[in-house]
Symmetry: C2
Subunit: 403 residues, 2 copies
């Protein structure tokens, strides 16, 4: 097992890892503030780090020297190792596209769920819980189905039948609770922490970001250790963007790279909670806003990882932008036409963000840009139904057309 | 380029490969009968075949010495190389599960589409066409979007908006034709062959089975060259089952294995067209039946690859069985609960078939069985909406439950 400890990014207090310790006792559990700190000094002088990476099959566990647990589940060797494509897009010659829609449950969330399950096994916990209506829950339910650990998922009773069906099919016990998402989240978190169930909330449990950061590691190794100038990523709760920063930072810290990219968070104009906090400046004060967007995976008014997200993005000279729903839907369609890749709305926002930043001349031809697509378009087909052409042809008209 | 020629499995006539030559001039194009024949004698004495496989990144192009084209597209290195899981299921200790839902377009069809696109590029063709309402079309549209070759997809005008949207989003030109699927298929095939467009119909174009057979190769190499006793696969048009036989046969022919598994085709009782032809016995006479099933990807009344499917399955001492829609839906749910894997209905039928054959004592504890799951459950979430529990809890009831 690797050596690591926990440190609060707000008050800098340090903690020894212990089962059930997810949050800083002084700063509370409403927002995630703990980060996992490894023995970077030892890793920096390890001459065989690259060999340790490439000796293993492509997956998130290639980077086991920077992870807080070891792979023990059937799915682990198939999580991560997702494609990095290179396209000439929108006049920019080097657009890298990291496509996480091909993870087992078709989203980026598998990287965090895998760590959660392995940590729960390490600690001998027999229940894992999560409040989510979407990708985090279906990921946990799928990856945990074959273990002896129970999966409890807390959702608002109002979620669509299809989403609930996916959770139940993967063997999770679904608690459909009459209340808003925020109410369900709060009551389940309180219950889970009290009961000592293993917590799969990436914004609270610091170990889950450790799984998510492997996306950054893969971008680097798949691009021959060249660091892109910009990385664009959709932002809801703030966990993926925080994890990407941590990954890029760690690779620089241990000497595998020499810079950190500017990370740009793309939100929906309908509910840009983290952007508002960031734009107001330090000290970052969490807020809860109301709003909505077609991009359900980033429709978050009360983001739980806002402190880390703002602190980290400031550290890499990044910033946040926001798109209208129309821009988001256009981004799905244009990304598809240019690359073939079908992204869920929240997965397409980096492409929409790139388009906006090119228009504003903030990103130019010579920049290397990486877009991170976090979810498969099949996750939300209904979002794109409005985009179709409705023309039809009779057989005679068809034959005539191609005479 | 590998040496190969084409041979009709019905009349045994041989042909030199030529652009536009997809069918035997004597036996016609209504059914696929040509197969691609390589120089097996030379491959059999090649002492470095395994090195040639394992020197490459895991993908369908690891087996380039048995493919009719070379990879030239961005997606090629990410097609195939899909997981093979090992589970203890239904009392059978060694159940291998090949999960092709993690291909780029989330189905097995990518293996054939990739070959179609690379062959069209080889031949300098500028249009690829396909009649399909489902996985074949969305696969072709996605993988071909970034090339200069146009994609024409012919569908009945009545297909759901979501399916059409996925096709258009990936840049395909969708011809929505007023007619039944069979009418649209026939008119588009006639038109495409007349115009000389490249044909992406796996039952007609023999090269496409070459892509699909790589699933069999992967099962072998991922299981350390041990051949399973049984392989179960869903059957509609008959192309995947035919391709699996060819793959297992070729690995035996070149000396990499010493047997071919018994391949069992699983159809839907509502429309078991190939089973009916097979059960009547030789000579296999194609028929068109009417019917329906919840498993839309195998809802085929006029299967185009019936001759190959029956001939090959007889050769490996296999057979066909059929499941009711209820058994198919149960299979999705039970597969999910046991493994976490979420399969579309046609992808879950091998699990349902295994259950049936265990009940009938045709498969027993000591057999090694491989189930091939051809499509991600996200392809058809509506199919499982009826499976959910509809109970909900108030917050008070929730708290009480866990007191």
């Amino acid at each position: 097992m690797n050596n690591y400890f926990l440190r609060c990014i707000t008050c800098k207090k340090e903690f020894d890892p212990q089962p059930g310790l997810y949050y800083c006792e002084d700063c509370g559990y409403i927002m995630g503030t703990l980060e996992v700190v490894y023995d970077y000094d030892t890793l920096r002088v390890d001459a065989f780090l690259k060999e340790r990476i490439f000796d293993k099959k492509a997956s998130m566990y290639q980077f086991d020297f920077l992870l807080p647990t070891k792979p023990k589940c059937k799915f682990d060797e198939h999580i991560g190792g997702t494609p990095l494509f290179r396209f000439d897009l929108l006049g920019i010659k080097n657009v890298l596209v990291k496509y996480d829609g091909s993870n087992p449950s078709s989203s980026y969330k598998d990287r965090a769920s895998s760590v959660a399950i392995n940590k729960a096994l390490d600690e001998g916990n027999d229940i894992l819980f999560c409040a989510s209506t979407g990708n985090a829950a279906s990921s946990l339910a799928m990856l945990n189905a074959h273990t002896d650990i129970k999966t409890y998922i807390f959702v608002p009773a109002s979620i669509p039948a299809g989403k609930r069906a996916q959770l139940e099919i993967s063997g999770a016990e679904v608690m459909a609770v009459e209340g808003t998402y925020d109410e369900v989240y709060d009551v389940s978190l309180e219950l889970g922490l009290k009961k000592g169930w293993y917590c799969r909330h990436a914004a609270i449990n610091p170990y889950l970001l450790e799984g998510k950061k492997t996306g950054a590691f893969e971008i680097i190794i798949q691009n021959d250790f060249e660091v892109p100038d910009y990385v664009l990523i959709g932002v809801g709760d703030g966990t993926v963007i925080s994890s990407l920063y941590k990954g890029f930072w760690e690779f620089k810290e241990i000497g595998l790279t020499d810079k950190i990219p500017r990370i740009i968070g793309v939100q929906a104009e309908g509910i840009p909670a983290i952007k508002e906090v960031f734009d107001k400046g330090k000290p970052y004060v969490p807020l809860a806003i109301k709003g909505n967007t077609v991009a359900d995976s980033i429709s978050v008014g009360n983001p739980r990882d806002v402190i880390k997200a703002c602190t980290y993005i400031e550290a890499c000279n990044g910033y946040f932008i926001a798109l209208t729903d129309e821009e988001i839907l256009d981004a799905i369609a244009e990304l598809g036409k240019e690359t073939g890749l079908f992204a869920e709305p929240a997965g397409a926002v980096p492409f929409g963000g790139l388009k906006k930043l090119i228009y504003e001349e903030k990103i130019t031809e010579s920049d290397t840009v990486c877009l991170v697509i976090t979810g498969n378009g099949l996750k939300d087909v209904s979002a794109v139904e409005g985009l179709i052409n409705t023309e039809s042809l009779s057989i005679k008209e068809l034959e005539k057309r191609f005479e």
